[in-house]
Subunit: 239 residues, 2 copies
DNA sequence: GCAATGCGGTACATTCTGTTACAATTTTTT
DNA sequence: AAAAAATTGTAACAGAATGTACCGCATTGC
């Protein structure tokens, strides 16, 4: 993702998306184009897209709907193109969950700066969706093999993790020291929203603690932020 | 932080910052104002600011310098106010690390929408306010492990702190010798404002004293400033 | 199919926090 | 100096949040 970000440009006007794509390519940004929402979905399935630039005024399924869909199913950041400097549109766009917006006619240099800013900002988030499937993490006395989804302690003793436990642990490991709400954790591990009185995360945390904490009654790795969520404590090494 | 975000408005024009602050307050955003960079720094030390709205064209130490400083020392997001819709300014602003910018004259409704968007976006970033989650403090006979929220005395005996006690203690440790009102402490520990007859802080202080004071009846570490608030007394070492 | 496993809902115990009430203390007023 | 008012300390209580055992359902592997 660092080397060269991959941006999907979605706009129904060929004379906007093509020059923009060429401009981005000239400046070290891989660009893919789509003329409508359906093509955009195809492109998203086919490639690892890091960011979407999206015209909200398109025929058919419009940009806002696609933006909502992106928000609900992925973490891919979105920059909206809005037809006019119209306040309501801007605000609706941001509330649909776009990361930024640019009004037409736009200065491509500015759009590029915003693309870079959004990617820098969200760079610490998981690419696309879901935990990584390779690599090794070290924390506390544990070593986590991401490929096998196994925990190995100092003596080489292996503890198996379920899918849910693994995803929860990786979500926390990727953000050490950060307080993650139950909502966020549910989003990161299951890609869904919390129902009222949803205790799924509490349960999963409880199960995970039983496996990784020396004393599950006094957790020192996954600590509770009362009224806030959970936080991973300690050094995390990634190898 | 969920309850109501706290925004610091920094602008040297009273007729901009004051109406803006009132507008934000009317819409559920706590607002503090500062007329220059020095006042802004003071406000940042004294309160738990979630976001800074900053005029980049100010006499003295200008907005960009303050913005840079914020970026280097905190994670508090920044929205710049720029005098004109001038492309270079915009891009310089974003590269200095601002999260967004708004050009004057601005629509307060739009600025509010952007404030909300930035806070939502950065909500999952490491807390810019709130207690540090790493490091160790030493004071009196205690050693406080910030990551584990545990107090350790000279003999290695561990005393656990609740989330609220820990946040209160860190708020005081970060400002030794300073008198902090109940309002400020409530802001720093819970991110909320005091209700009439709010005794939450008094109680939390009482509970904390029970844990850290040799003689809770004669507190020597957290002393009461009658009519003012509380003050941490003694040396604080940070390692 | 059937057993094993994992997950989420439910229920209940526990912990934490804020409110209330009242006593103690300090300041202000008389 | 005494009385009144304001402020603070804290015990007791209540409500909310959290921990987790248990159970049923779904999925997986045989």
């Amino acid at each position: 993702m660092d080397a060269s970000p991959h941006v999907l440009v979605v706009d129904d006007h060929r004379d906007i998306r093509e020059p923009l794509a060429r401009y981005l390519e000239r400046h070290g940004v891989r660009a893919t184009v789509a003329g409508n929402a359906a093509a955009a979905r195809r492109a998203l399935r086919a490639a690892a897209v890091d960011l979407v630039v999206l015209d909200i005024m398109m025929p058919g399924e419009d940009g806002l709907a696609l933006c909502r869909h992106l928000r609900e199913t992925t973490h891919i950041p979105v920059i909206l193109l809005t037809a006019m400097a119209e306040d309501t549109d801007r605000i609706v766009g941001l509330e649909v969950g776009a990361d930024d917006y640019v009004t037409k006619p736009f200065n491509p240099r500015e759009l590029l700066a915003r693309i870079r800013a959004v990617i820098r900002r969200t760079g610490s988030l998981p690419p696309g969706r879901g935990p990584r499937t390779a690599g090794t993490w070290r924390f506390d006395r544990w070593s986590l093999d991401a490929g096998r989804r196994e925990l190995v302690d100092e003596d080489g003793v292996v503890t198996a993790l379920s899918t849910g436990e693994f995803r929860l642990l990786v979500a926390l490991l990727e953000r050490p020291g950060m307080v993650l709400s139950r909502d966020q954790l549910l989003d990161l591990t299951r890609g869904r929203r919390a129902a009222p009185f949803d205790r799924a995360i509490d349960n999963q945390v409880s199960r995970l603690r039983r496996k990784i904490e020396r004393d599950p009654k006094n957790p020192r790795i996954i600590v509770t932020e009362w009224g806030g969520g959970y936080r991973f404590v300690g050094e995390v090494e990634r190898i």
